[in-house]
């Protein structure tokens, strides 16, 4: 969004004149009032607990509390980085999240564009409601259904495949196939819910623009490319940047629900390790250290993506 060059705007946005804080408070007091409660919430409910992150630098004993536990500096981090599964977990986490980004990110956009082209209101309503149903299923349930559908000996899908004369496919029980199924099921689960945000953005598009394009002789495809997509571009970029920060993260439940003891190459991820060490073993220091590592990388990625977006002329995240 370009800053307006009207004289009024120039008066509103003075160039680098030094003013006291009081001047700003007086001028924009309404804006500051609007920000009081949100910032209070953020500081109290998010930043206050951050003192708990100090656990990552201490030999934390629960009964001794943060202050009572001994400071060990970066020892915990060293221990975590040296663990056998750490390297594999980092690789797997990145791999799974990048695949999700490549295949899972565009799907809601494509679906939203298709839905936008549907004229029948009832069809649109019903389809939308059906599409986002998977979002409401917990991963444990989805895992159970996935195994009853895709398992080698009892799965429904494999029964059909065998009926057609082919040998059964180990959808979840061989490494390569597991990766495929993991991404596919993930896309399936989130694509419907993801369309909501894009549809909201699409309805914000001025219908006069479509009129103008139609007058210019643009067919549906051209309208989509030249009117719809540019108008939801900033939404796409915002969500893309936010997802960049999640590259080192991911869902524990999703991997846990779909993993098994046979296809193990890709199933150790950072959230899995955080769970294994934190909740499984009570090693809070290690789990917190790993979480911190995750967060720092995520933040760096987000800031980098934000800067790139701004260089390309987009609004950016902050």
């Amino acid at each position: 969004m370009k800053r307006s060059k009207t004289p009024a705007a120039a008066a509103l946005y003075p160039q680098n004149k030094p003013h006291s804080i009081g001047w700003y408070l007086r001028r924009d007091w309404q804006l500051y009032v609007l920000m009081v409660l949100p910032m209070l919430f953020v500081l109290v409910f998010k930043f206050l607990p951050y003192t708990g992150l100090s656990i990552a630098f201490k030999d934390y004993k629960v009964a001794k509390g943060y202050a009572g536990s001994k400071w060990v500096g970066l020892d915990i981090f060293e221990k975590v980085f040296k663990k056998r599964d750490f390297g594999q977990a980092v690789y797997n986490t990145l791999l799974l999240n990048v695949l999700d980004l490549i295949f899972g990110f565009p799907m809601p956009i494509i679906l939203a564009l298709i839905l936008n082209n549907i004229k029948s209101k009832y069809f649109k309503k019903i389809t939308q409601t059906l599409l986002y149903l998977p979002h409401f299923l917990s991963w444990i349930i989805i895992g159970g259904i996935a195994y009853s559908m895709f398992s080698l000996s009892n799965g429904v899908v494999n029964a059909l495949i065998q009926n057609m004369g082919h040998s059964p496919v180990p959808f979840l029980q061989a490494n390569g196939w597991w990766l495929f199924s993991y991404v596919l099921i993930g896309v399936w689960q989130s694509m419907g819910w993801g369309t909501i945000i894009y549809l909201a953005a699409i309805t914000g598009v001025n219908s006069e623009l479509y009129e103008a394009a139609r007058v210019d002789g643009a067919g549906r495809w051209k309208q989509c490319i030249h009117v719809t997509i540019p108008c939801i571009r900033s939404t796409i970029v915002t969500l893309l940047i936010m997802n960049m920060g999640k590259l080192m993260g991911g869902s524990f439940e999703r991997v846990f629900a779909l993993c098994n003891a046979k296809a193990t190459q890709y199933t150790t991820t950072i959230p899995v390790l955080v769970y294994r060490w934190g909740i499984g073993d009570g090693k809070f220091s290690e789990a917190t250290a790993l979480g911190l590592f995750q967060s720092v990388i995520g933040l760096i990625l987000v800031l980098a993506a934000d800067r790139i977006a701004k260089k390309l002329g987009e609004d950016g995240l902050i």
Binding site: L31, K46, P49, Q128, L199, T203, G291
Partner: protein, 304 residues
């Protein structure tokens, strides 16, 4: 001349045919994909009204066998379910209202480029999206604020979501023309007035969307209530109550050497019916929200 006309007609017909082909393709794709999305629910519903023996053996797919409604009866007979439904509704409503007030105010305020400290505040909010302290620090905070076993611990902590904030801020930035706001400023309007009279009326789709996100997020989640609501059993939200219902039925205390007295519970069927029971209400809300996704709200808003 006749040739030109038929050529034109041909192009027009082929264009129309192409359009119809594309339409058919869209419809087919959507139908297929929607089917894959709804089939698991049909499967779960079939399990919820079937005979336990068949459900245990994993023999139920889409068609129920041995239809009975004992699991649903069990759910409805439990008086505390009604109470927990009420708790969930109150909590979800308050959560959404508070969340929306916070999100709209901050999203608008932080789009104003003249606001000093804007970048810092945006950064701080965004920071919280990637850094979490963990279950113990969060619990300690709730304990220190004396919010355990109260309504507030389910409503306040998560009500301001950085994710929702960023989406709304971006939406305000891109869909509300700066010139509109500038002209309002020139006319002497304060920011409160601009927010309520201009920004909110023009942002119905995104407000509907984010409200939905807040409501659904709060309705589905129970892992915080699991640890925060201990002594006041009557304060358990619906999802937590159902979690306990299923857990109690599947609990293998047999391993502890004491068997359970009481009638046979049907864990698998009960699990399935709990899912249906908990999901149906929130799923039905979206069609009502859809009416806010109406195009053309911007016509005539900006004049010269």
């Amino acid at each position: 001349m006749n040739l030109n006309k038929t050529n034109h007609d041909r192009r027009w017909i082929s264009a129309k045919a192409k359009n119809m082909a594309i339409d058919i393709m869209f419809y087919t794709v959507l139908i297929l994909v929607s089917l894959t999305c709804v089939l698991p629910f049909i499967h779960i519903f079939a399990k919820s009204v079937s005979n336990e023996a068949f459900v245990v053996a994993n023999k139920i797919f889409l068609i129920p066998k041995g239809i009975n409604f004992t699991a649903y009866k069990k759910i409805f007979q439990d008086m505390s379910i009604v109470r927990s439904l009420y708790v969930s509704i109150i909590v979800t409503l308050s959560f959404t209202v508070i969340g929306m007030v916070l999100t709209i105010s901050s999203a608008y305020a932080l789009t104003r480029k003249e606001l000093k400290g804007r970048k810092v505040m945006s950064f701080l909010i965004m920071f919280t999206m990637y850094f979490t302290a963990g279950t113990i620090p969060d619990y300690l905070l709730m304990n220190d604020l004396k919010m355990l076993d109260t309504w507030w611990c389910m409503i306040l902590p998560l009500s301001f979501s950085a994710y929702n904030f960023l989406i709304m801020k971006n939406n305000f930035q891109s869909s509300i023309p700066e010139s509109l706001i500038e002209s309002a400023v020139i006319d002497g309007a304060g920011h409160f007035k601009i927010l309520t009279k201009i920004v909110i009326p023009l942002s119905k789709p995104i407000i509907a969307t984010i409200s939905l996100f807040y409501a659904v997020g709060r309705w589905n989640a129970y892992s915080d209530a699991l640890f925060y609501i201990k002594q006041r059993v009557s304060l358990r939200p619906l999802q937590l109550k159902l979690y306990y219902l299923v857990v109690a039925a599947t609990e293998s205390f047999k391993a502890e050497g004491v068997a359970v007295t009481g009638q046979i519970t049907n864990p698998e069927v009960l699990k399935a019916s709990c899912i249906i029971f908990a999901t149906l209400p929130i799923v039905c809300i979206y069609p009502f929200v859809q009416k806010y996704f109406v195009q053309g709200t911007m016509i005539g808003a900006v004049k010269g």
